[in-house]
Amino acid sequence: MTAATQKRIAPRQIYLLLACIAPIGKIVYLPSHLAHYAQNDLLFPAVAQLLVQSLAVFLTLLLAKRGMSFCQLLEGVFGKIAARIFVGIFGLFLLYASLLPLLEQQLFVQSEFYDTLPSLFAFGPFFVFCAYLCSKPLSSFGRTWDILAPLAAAAFVGVMLLSVGSADFGALAPAGAAGGRGFLRATASATSWFFDAALLIPLLGKFEYKKGMAWKGTLCYLGGGAAVLFFLATFYGIFGPLAETQLFGFSKTSKYFSGITVLGRIDYVFIYALALAMAFYVALPLQGAIECGMQIAGEKKYLRTFLSVAVNALLFALLVILEYRLKQALGVISDMLFWIFPIFFLLVPALSLLIRRRRREV
């Protein structure tokens, strides 16, 4: 046996994903985005999204009780063909969902890894890495989370330790200044960043449900969410009215630490560690999409390789086309097409649970 192809994901690894990896995607572009719409009230839309997403995570983990993959789950009710169509649609959604993390990752790379705007070539290797990642079965990735989760958690703590002293938490007052409209707009546009439950769906059947896993998973997600909220508060405490101009929040907050003037940007150690974990996080929806493809076509190594390469090549081409319109593209996804997300991360697991129940009653 070479790779860990036959391995199943341990519940611990799911918890680590929810607690430590999932929050990373929320501290890059989202803080400034929330500040743009909700200003000092940026915590409220984030809390609302976290609560909804926690519910979705809970429902998805409940689905895992049945020990079946998403495709198998649907097959029992709708038959093979319909199930494959559903899974295909879900895979397309994941492909779409992967765009936003990809876009923000590319903007982040341009800003934080280079002193001058680099050529697109610089971001190209990410897709090679991503293609390699996607060519591995999803179930073998539990172990990466074992390594990345403590790394990300330690890096996050490091960033926060350097940041929190510069924050004026009073800047978060007064509550409600943005008004109901600001809250709603911020909540709606933040939806595109909260789809973690959807990432769990391709994992169904690849981990064994243990007693209380739904609760534990949800609590882990909420724990990670609490860290995100703390970061958002610190972020706004540091930047106040400038918050909306500070893209890539987590790489900005720690630079005001007094020791940095002497030692140089030591915070880059933490920022780069988070960037490492983020590279895996950004690829997660893509992996999920490929996994859906595999559930439709059946596990074939050559097909997985082909799909991985093709999908990543397509996405790279898309980013090349969008070169100078990355922020606009990000805006379209977050501000106009956000409604697509809840259909898949909330409705899909909820309906899957309901359908099953109805069938039993019959």
């Binding site: 046996m1 860990a4 890894f113 280079y114 680099p118 172990r143 074992d146 880059y268």
Partner: protein, 477 residues
């Protein structure tokens, strides 16, 4: 399969035909009663003194019925066996054991009087310990197994002799503790060794290729040690060991990457010190791999990686250098590798001179001549030293360092991050004999972390590593 006919002359000729080499000699002699014998032996590897003392002299006085049992009883060599097959007899001759044939018998006697060429047991130069045992393996498999046996006075220690190599017929001692090692692993190793179809096995490193799950990988997948104490400790943890005749390096499987960050000395010093040194090794290795890469990426793509004063110093020192920062660093790295390679291969007395030439003359004059800058030499020197903090991984880490440097010089810091991610993914998905390479970190095995990069007190290490799935978990009662 051809067997002996009982016709002494014919049998001796047949054997000689199988072994036409000039150093295969025959010695004809008769007992006082007139029974003719022929001893066939390989001249360079047979101890002729022992042959005379333990075989020929007793047979001169042989009386009685010339059966194999009677002849065998007459020989005083402690190792003796009977054999009918001509091929097997020929193999014994080639191993250094003389074959005794006599008239009228279709069975020969093999006497264990081979000449053993061994060097003295000494401390291995690659694994020096200030505290703890100093013995090291040598090239003789029997001596090596005796070093193991001396440390395990239990019948649970199993040493099975296997033979590998169509031509070399190299002995490989498979060692494990019955009831502690996993049966499946033992069987798996036996199977893999059995499947090897190669002409010669000059060293144990040949076997690693066949034992690895990813044979073409850069990643090390089989544990190596030159010290019997480490070898025994690994057997005691539930691993399976292999000692190859002719090689002082023993192999152990399953291998965990963390093993190479541990040293035997860690177990003979206080745990705090051991933890500190292990962390230091890890730190040194990480710095050695990443420092040149980040230095380049900083100069080319992200100046902020340096504090401003350091940046100005660097900018000043590279101002007149004719190469780009990345090429300069590559050049210095290559010079270091060449010096390293040359100083290892050179005779010792030249080696010293070479170090002086390399370190002082080349380094100093290259800087003075403006070929390379001082910071580049400092960075590479530190990196070079850092790699040797974990000497067992040097073959892998030096390549990784070079790859990091190339990526840093072309893609920058992001390239370093991506290559790290790629490596991480590769390591995480690598396993051998059912054991993940990165355990106990991935997958996390809580209790095993006590003897990983951390080192707990001996009292806390009451069980064998869970990662190795030994059926006999408890170690300390």
């Amino acid at each position: 399969m051809k067997t002996l006919s009982g016709d002494l002359k014919k049998d001796a000729d047949a054997l000689k035909k199988l072994l036409p080499a000039e150093d295969i000699l025959t010695f004809e002699f008769s007992s006082e009663k007139g029974l003719p014998f022929i001893a066939v032996f390989a001249d360079p590897i047979t101890d002729k003194e022992l042959l005379g003392e333990q075989v020929i002299r007793p047979l001169k006085h042989f009386e009685g019925k010339p059966t194999a049992d009677m002849v065998g009883a007459q020989i005083t060599s402690p190792e003796m066996k009977k054999e009918k097959s001509l091929q097997k007899l020929a193999a014994e001759v080639l191993s250094g054991n003389p074959v005794i044939l006599w008239e009228g018998m279709d069975e020969g006697v093999v006497a264990g009087t081979k000449k053993v060429f061994t060097r003295a047991i000494a401390e291995p130069s690659t694994d020096v310990a200030v505290k703890g045992p100093r013995e090291g393996f040598i090239e003789d498999v029997k001596t090596n197994t005796s070093l193991i046996r001396r440390r395990f006075k239990t019948g649970e220690l199993r040493i099975e002799m296997l033979e590998v190599g169509r031509r070399s017929k190299t002995f490989v001692a498979l060692c494990y503790l019955e009831g502690t090692a996993i049966k499946e692993t033992v069987e798996d190793v036996k199977k893999k060794i059995g499947e090897i179809d190669i002409d010669i096995v000059p060293d144990s490193s040949y076997l690693t290729h066949f034992l690895a799950s990813r044979p073409y990988s850069l990643v090390k997948q089989v544990g190596t040690t030159e010290k019997p104490d480490i070898f025994c400790a690994k057997l005691a943890e539930g691993r399976v060991g292999l000692i190859v005749d002719g090689s002082p390096i023993a192999l152990t499987v399953p291998y965990l990457l963390v093993e190479d960050f541990q040293s035997s000395e860690d177990y003979f010093v206080p745990p705090y010190r051991a933890t500190f040194t292990r962390l230091l090794r890890l730190f040194a290795l990480v710095v050695a791999i990443y420092l040149p890469a980040f230095y380049i990426a900083g100069q080319l793509f992200k100046l902020q990686l340096f504090p401003v004063k350091l940046l100005l110093t660097i900018a000043g020192s590279i101002r007149d250098i004719p190469f780009s920062p990345s090429l300069e660093m590559l050049l210095v790295l290559l010079v270091l590798e060449v010096l390293n390679e040359a100083s290892i291969r050179m005779p010792k007395y030249v080696g010293m001179a070479l170090s002086v030439v390399g370190a002082l003359v080349l380094g100093e004059t290259a800087v003075s001549a403006g070929f390379v800058s001082t910071p580049a030499i400092i960075i590479i020197a530190f990196s070079g030293i850092g790699l040797y903090a974990v000497p067992n991984l040097i073959e892998q880490t030096s390549v990784v360092r070079l790859a990091m440097l190339l990526v840093a010089g072309s893609v920058g810091t992001y390239g370093i991050i991506l290559l790290t991610a790629f490596m991480l993914l590769y390591l995480v998905t690598t396993e051998n004999f059912g054991t993940p390479l990165l355990a106990p970190f991935s997958p996390i095995v809580g209790k095993d972390l006590r003897d990983s990069v951390l080192k707990y007190n001996l009292g806390s290490l009451d069980t064998r590593p869970k990662t190795l799935k030994s059926p006999n978990r408890r170690r300390l009662k």
